[in-house]
């Protein structure tokens, strides 16, 4: 009997139905949602800082009603569920470094969206960090 070629495409031989390949798109989407979430939360907190509130409770109440903050948290929550799936399939010391792309995206976002000053040393640090993360990625070939 012919195997269903669609199911061959999603499970590797010997994977015992563990959807081994799905950790890749899950991780990519998790990273994207995390970046969107962080920039939205920063946007919310920037505007909230300017609003006069008295005391912690009023400030917290204001924050919890801010749509950008809630949207940012929602994006981050969905990204976390996808992250949990990726980490169940791949060693943490391998998966974690692949979030490196975010650093450049968010620094650029901070400058473009919020007018932040990013010094040359900070850009250099970000570049070095991204190199370090790529080295981490390559080192995943080491047995762990």
């Amino acid at each position: 009997m012919m195997e269903n070629s669609a199911s061959d495409a999603v499970t590797l031989p010997g994977s015992r139905g563990r959807e081994t390949q799905y950790w890749i798109p899950a991780l990519a989407l998790s990273i994207t949602l995390a970046a969107v979430g962080h920039l939205a939360m920063k946007a919310a907190l920037n505007t909230a800082a300017a609003v006069p509130t008295h005391g912690v409770v009023e400030k917290l109440s204001y924050h919890l009603h801010h749509p950008a903050l809630l949207a940012g948290l929602a994006a981050y929550a969905v990204g976390t569920l996808l992250w949990i799936f990726a980490v169940s399939r791949k060693e943490i010391s391998y998966v974690y470094p692949l979030t490196a792309a975010n650093y450049a995206v968010i620094a650029i976002g901070g400058k473009a969206l919020f007018g932040e000053t990013v010094s040359t040393m900070r850009w250099a640090g970000i570049a070095v960090v991204m190199i370090g993360v790529m080295l981490m990625h390559r080192s995943s070939g080491e047995r762990s």
Binding site: K42, Y96, V118, R122, A124, S139, E142
Partner: protein
């Protein structure tokens, strides 16, 4: 609480939380198909995953305090120090090996983190 304390507290809690998560789902029922009930049971019933959840919430709260008062282009790149902490903690607590090329990566990351925190 100073923004600096909130920032580094968030980073350390985040790194520790990742280890709790891997400890919880790297073995056992979560290793089954995500279409199966046992995968979800493995996640929901694992105390390690719950500990991860609480540490994540605490790290997020500290993060909000931190980024309300610091530029996102400063705070977010410093999150990369989490790689260093995760590698060191995973070696200490999960028995994951840190070979020479990963060690080199940690050295480079450390340099980057120092540049960002000084810049």
């Amino acid at each position: 609480m100073s923004p600096s304390i909130a920032l580094w507290g968030s980073i350390l809690l985040g790194a520790g939380g990742q280890l709790l998560l891997r400890r919880g789902v790297g073995v056992g029922a979560a290793q089954t198909s995500a279409r199966s009930a046992s995968y979800w049971r493995g996640i929901v019933l694992s105390p390690w995953v719950w500990a991860y959840g609480f540490s994540l919430i605490a790290a997020m709260a500290l993060w909000l305090v931190a980024i309300a008062h610091t530029p996102i282009s400063y705070a977010y790149p410093l999150l990369s120090s989490g790689y260093i902490f995760v590698a060191l903690l995973s070696r200490a607590f999960l028995g994951e090996k840190v070979g020479p090329s990963r060690c080199a990566a940690i050295v480079v990351l450390s340099l980057g983190v120092v540049l960002i925190s000084l810049g």
